[in-house]
Amino acid sequence: MFWISFKRIIRSGIINFRRAGTVSLSSVLVVTVMLSVVGIIIFLQATLQTALQSIRDRVDVTVSFVTSAPEEKILLLKNDLEQLPEVREVAYKEREAVLADFRDRHQDDYTSLRALDELSQNPFGAMLTIRATDPSQYETIANFLEEENPSMKKYSGLVERINYSQNKEVIERLNGMISGAERLGLIVTLILAFISALITYNTIRLAIYISKEEIGIMKLVGAENKYIRGPFLIEGVLYGVIGAITTLIIFIPVTLWAKHNLLQFLGIDLFSYYGSNFLQIAFILLVVGVFVSVLSSFVATRKYLKI
């Protein structure tokens, strides 16, 4: 009995969807617009994350060693740092490389270069450049590097300078900026998603309002609520699925256009991002589309089922 009813509900939903013509088309269009907004939100989030990541990547903590620090000890410390969960990567730069970098940076600064030439030996010690998994963790890493830390006892006298205290303010401001941008992104996302869902709900409610008399007739011939509501929910599923497929197709040329025209501006290749995250995006759009449409149909029919 359940399967017969289920089969009839599905068949009825599909037939109603087809016969409703313009009403179905406009509902699908509104769902498509809503899902496009959801898709744009996903792409904006990706763009924001890429921008924030590139800022994060520019932040680091450098440890400068005294010139006499033995390389094996520095590499040992590098290894210790890499064991910390807060550390993403540690780069070792030999003394000669530090000197070369200095020369490179000051190639137009004749005085500095001359002063350097007058020294008989390389005045720079080796360096470790540390990148944290998250900018908020630099303080923990800096604390680890403090001489008071028992783990650092064996490296006593080797570290000449840690630039965290100089960069602290910049890092903290950056942390605030990143979390602010993420919060703002979330708020904008929620507002846009809510507005889109509301518009979709009202469109579907209007579509069902047209059928309110039919719902009354169905009740009077003795149909159960689930049997009346079922086809409307199936129509909701169809709005969601067709809307999601349409949106996914629309995003192919849109992201391709963004790749050719907005790559410099956005800093992210949206077409490649779309390609590599296609299944996740398709899943999100499908779930959001079907959920909002079916929920709208469910709520909208409830009012007319109370006869």
Partner: protein, 226 residues
């Protein structure tokens, strides 16, 4: 079978007393016509029986059961025992004649085989075999009303409520609809017909209840005043 006990219905929106302390009894297998001008309370009477509306005071019993006390799930079962025919047909516009009747059968859980056998049969009874795949908007008023009757009788209800079924029909179609209702009544189904067309009623020679301003002013059986 159907019993009204001191039933009143007040519509609060416009403060209209549509039914005023009505007490009546309709027996199994009866053909009862309810006549009266517009606003006399005929449609309210049918809406109360269908439980589309609830009485302000009083009780309505169907087969001894107070229908006000029916739960939502019981209400569906209750409505399946009643067939309804309306002046404005109330057909499902996006379904064909066949589908309109099939829907009423599907709603009560009839099998596909039963539907495939019974729907063409009932359409033949109301002379609509050739309109099976037509939508209501492709049919005339008389055809729509015959379709509505076919839908009302398909599940063999105990009662048929026909609310002004001839209101939108010409004399020829009116007679045709009345004849169909008479035939259904002859098979044992209780019929409650509301109309303002007294000629139709008197041609039937059955029980006639006359309403005026929400009250029963006469209840006649075979032209004999009770």
């Amino acid at each position: 079978m159907i019993q009204f006990e001191n039933v009143s219905k007040l519509y609060k929106q416009d403060d209209t007393l549509s039914l005023d302390n009505i007490t009546l009894k309709i027996n199994q297998g009866e053909f009862v016509s309810v006549v009266g001008h517009s606003g006399a309370g005929k449609t309210t009477l049918t809406k109360l029986i269908m439980k589309e509306e609830s009485p302000t005071t009083g009780s309505i019993f169907v087969d001894g059961v107070d229908i006000e006390k029916l739960k939502s799930s019981d209400l569906t079962q209750y409505r399946r025992r009643i067939g309804v025919v309306f002046q404005d047909f109330r057909l499902l516009q996006n379904k064909t004649a066949y589908e309109n009747i099939a829907f009423a059968m599907e709603a009560v859980g009839k099998s596909d085989e039963e539907i495939q056998t019974d729907v063409p049969h009932v359409l033949e009874l109301v002379d609509l075999s050739n309109r099976m795949m037509h939508f209501p908007y492709q049919m005339s008023g008389g055809e729509k009303q015959r379709l509505a009757i076919a839908r009302a009788i398909i599940n063999q209800p105990e009662v048929i409520i026909a609310d002004e079924p001839t209101g939108n029909l010409d004399p020829m179609n009116t007679q045709e609809v009345v004849n169909i209702l008479k035939k259904i009544n002859d098979l044992g189904t209780t019929i409650l017909l509301t109309t303002h067309n007294k000629e139709v009623i008197h041609s039937l020679g059955k029980r006639v209840i006359t309403f005026e301003k929400g009250r029963i002013i006469s209840d006649e059986n075979n032209s004999k005043k009770i």
